[in-house]
Symmetry: C2
Subunit: 271 residues, 2 copies
């Protein structure tokens, strides 16, 4: 039996030592010693404070960075992001790739969130919010000739609605889900006809009017109709026109994949 000298009471913590780092940072946040925009102590200092080595600190910070809690700047330090609350979209993106989420499902999730947000926005939008929405509607009508610019204001409008909901959690969720297909929309937007853009602009205007009138039910309906139509429009788009062509190639010849044996098929992927 090897005595293993260093195991006196080192790993006495219930969880991994790296978890201590996350917990420590969490503690700093919860007791208000660390707020958005602040800089964390240097890794070497943090290691001394917590009582672990720097690699362990780095592991914890890496995890926090992946969650979007912190953000490292090479040569400068590690900071807590400033600005409005943001949830990282990458986890959802991975989940989509892993489980083969469909476009329809993503649009549906977005619809639920944005319809709810629109309802809240109608109930609580401040004059400032209303003004922002009005401006973006105007921008939409002003950019019917330029799909790329139109898309920017489209995104801005939906973001503004989420912001007008007054609920930062809802806004974060909307943003996270929306991020998933902005990339895709950027491609389809190029082929949009001005007439379609005009229809979309009109739909946004109806949403805006309902919010301005503080008519929650109308706002919800308008947002729902708008997203249903947008979903249908995207569904008939080419690009992913392989409804059942889900056979993902699988280079069976290559024998360099020793691990997975079974060849179960899964649903269409690609987010």
């Amino acid at each position: 039996m090897k005595p293993a000298g260093t195991s006196f009471f080192t790993t006495a913590s219930p969880e991994g030592s790296t978890h201590q780092v996350v917990a420590h940072v969490r503690g700093l946040i919860e007791r208000g010693q660390l707020r958005p925009g602040d800089r964390l102590p240097a890794e070497r200092d943090l290691a001394g404070q917590i009582g672990v080595s720097r690699p362990t600190v780095r592991a914890g910070l890496r995890a926090l960075a992946a969650m979007g809690v912190v953000q490292s700047r090479h040569g400068s330090g590690t900071y807590i992001p400033d600005g409005p609350p943001v949830l990282a979209a990458e986890p959802l993106s991975f989940l989509a790739a892993l489980h083969g989420f469909t476009h329809a499902e993503m649009y549906e999730a977005r619809r639920i969130l944005e319809v709810g947000a629109a309802g809240l926005a109608a109930e609580r939008a401040t004059p400032d919010h209303v003004a922002t929405l009005a401006e973006e509607v105007a921008n939409l009508f002003a950019s019917l000739e330029s799909p790329q610019v139109f898309l920017v204001h489209d995104i801005n409008f939906h973001r503004a609605v989420a912001g007008a909901s007054g609920n930062p959690i809802v806004a974060s969720l909307v943003e996270m889900v929306s991020t998933l297909y902005y990339e895709r929309r950027r491609r389809t937007a190029e082929r949009a006809f001005p007439r379609d853009l005009r229809d979309a602009a009109e739909a946004h205007r109806r949403i805006y009017q309902a919010v301005r009138a503080h008519d929650a039910e109308a706002a919800r309906t308008a947002m729902n109709d708008h997203l249903l139509q947008a979903s249908a429009y995207q569904a008939q788009e080419p690009g992913h026109a392989n409804p059942q062509a889900d056979v993902p190639v699988e280079p069976a010849a290559a024998g360099d994949s020793p691990a997975p044996r079974r060849a179960r098929r899964r649903r269409e992927s690609q987010i």
Copy 2:
């Protein structure tokens, strides 16, 4: 190999070397070589494949683990979680701590999601789903005397509704948001009166009936009413009766001398 020093464009990657690891794993996932339940190559092998050192691989895997994409088991390997898609709740929890999300906001976000999920469930629930819901309703009525057991079935019921929506993204979001206050509910549940539990069980039964009848509008309304009432019930609860006690005293806390040890006495601010 590389004599370090001035890179002769070795690191052809635009981003940090650790990002390569994440991208590599993502590639494996997207080309179907890595699916839920599979085990990733060992860290040492992965390091060789990608061409980076093990610490770098570990950093990337740590990030993926924080996102919930992978899951390490000491001594066994790193796996891709099996089962239904799950979004990590920790990022949202940190965001709540950082920006001081209120309970009302969280309940509101949950309400939006679950009301939408209930509507979808009413449209698409299979007989199996309906049966599961019926069973959980029965369990609720059977556990009116035991708040702890009641809570378990309460959670199960809402999870089942989310699952019956047929949309895994919505289910993931519901789960993520719900996780935030299960902890809290566990504490308040202890003080619940049987009469309150009976009311709650009745509310669940109404939701179930609407889903079984495939009446989406009724399901939405029933879920909305239920969550509004639950929110009001929690709002009048004591426990977090420190509305403005979020001033975390002064940092007079003696420095962290050697090791924090078991200082589990942390204040559970919101959550």
